[in-house]
Symmetry: C2
Subunit: 182 residues, 2 copies
Amino acid sequence: MRADARRNYDKILATARIVFTERGTDSSLDEIAKRAGVGPGTLYRHFPTREALVDALMQDWTDRVSADADAAIATGLPARQMLLGWFEHFIDHITLHRGAASKICAAMDDPASPMYRKCRVMSDANRRVIDHLDADGQLRPGIDAANVMRLVSGVASVADTSHTELDVRPMLEVVVDGIVHD
Amino acid sequence: MRADARRNYDKILATARIVFTERGTDSSLDEIAKRAGVGPGTLYRHFPTREALVDALMQDWTDRVSADADAAIATGLPARQMLLGWFEHFIDHITLHRGAASKICAAMDDPASPMYRKCRVMSDANRRVIDHLDADGQLRPGIDAANVMRLVSGVASVADTSHTELDVRPMLEVVVDGIVHD
DNA sequence: GCTAAAACGGAGACAGTCTCCGTATTGTGG
DNA sequence: CCACAATACGGAGACTGTCTCCGTTTTAGC
């Protein structure tokens, strides 16, 4: 990659991080280009779609989410607390930029999406937590990690979409009660 | 309301129902106007926002959803089956037009939305089911009907957003297990 | 029929997406 | 160190969708 290309790539990414945080992941891409001091053509060459841009920004998250999952397992807490903590961390991360949660929901089951691979990393992180507890006999029989991921992403999406500041805790408690063994 | 106004109003609504079913609730409004044989101005005079149009189409649903809730209660089935049946019916209705579910999620906690009143009707329907079972002692203590509604709408939204045909049943089972008494 | 009120519709302003291609920048072999 | 491919830039502009304004048409009551 040429030096100027790398420079612009980084500049666009840094600007996108700011704008997406300020105004959500549906902000105008041309405006991001303008604020980054590049032409729209340059932005679209580096990131052909909005999803590709969101995907590039997600890199940090997937690392942190993955680490969070392992940290949750390491606590050795009972299933209820472990899951609640893990889910809350997960939701905190994916709702960092408004609109991201629902994009992740959509990408999760769409291998054609540029974000699919990142979603898999997060799904795998979740699977580790679920498998760990399942092996321990702490979960109801027949719990499918993929469905748990979808459910929790759904909660994130609802919280993110809602115009009021919504507390996700009560919803997560229902989900957790539906997962853990009686 | 003048005769021509009524005529156009109905024509727009009928067309929107077709187009929203074919291509989802994010279809071009100008195209709906064109296919209805009216000018864009006419469409926007009757329905100032896309939400207002979706709202008008939802009228049927709210009635049916309300009836479904009462029908579910009337079955007298145990909580698990009653809730599963009710939730599935509810989701079937609100995912009739692609994109509607997430709009409903957003409107549910936004009194400023034109759809807010319709959402309330559906929330009330859900509350009847929940209250009925709760009075019967079949639910865990502290279950909040509003959160149940958000959770189930979230499941609907996930299913609707997903690019694959997603079976909502397993997710609903988790939710139901989280609601009903051990 | 006449008239005022109500409603129509489409031209066009505006905003966002995305592309094409002439111009500029880079780095490499001589 | 410089010439020249290869690579990347950027902005004009095509395109699509939203939404408004206002001259024209339709309606309903007298």
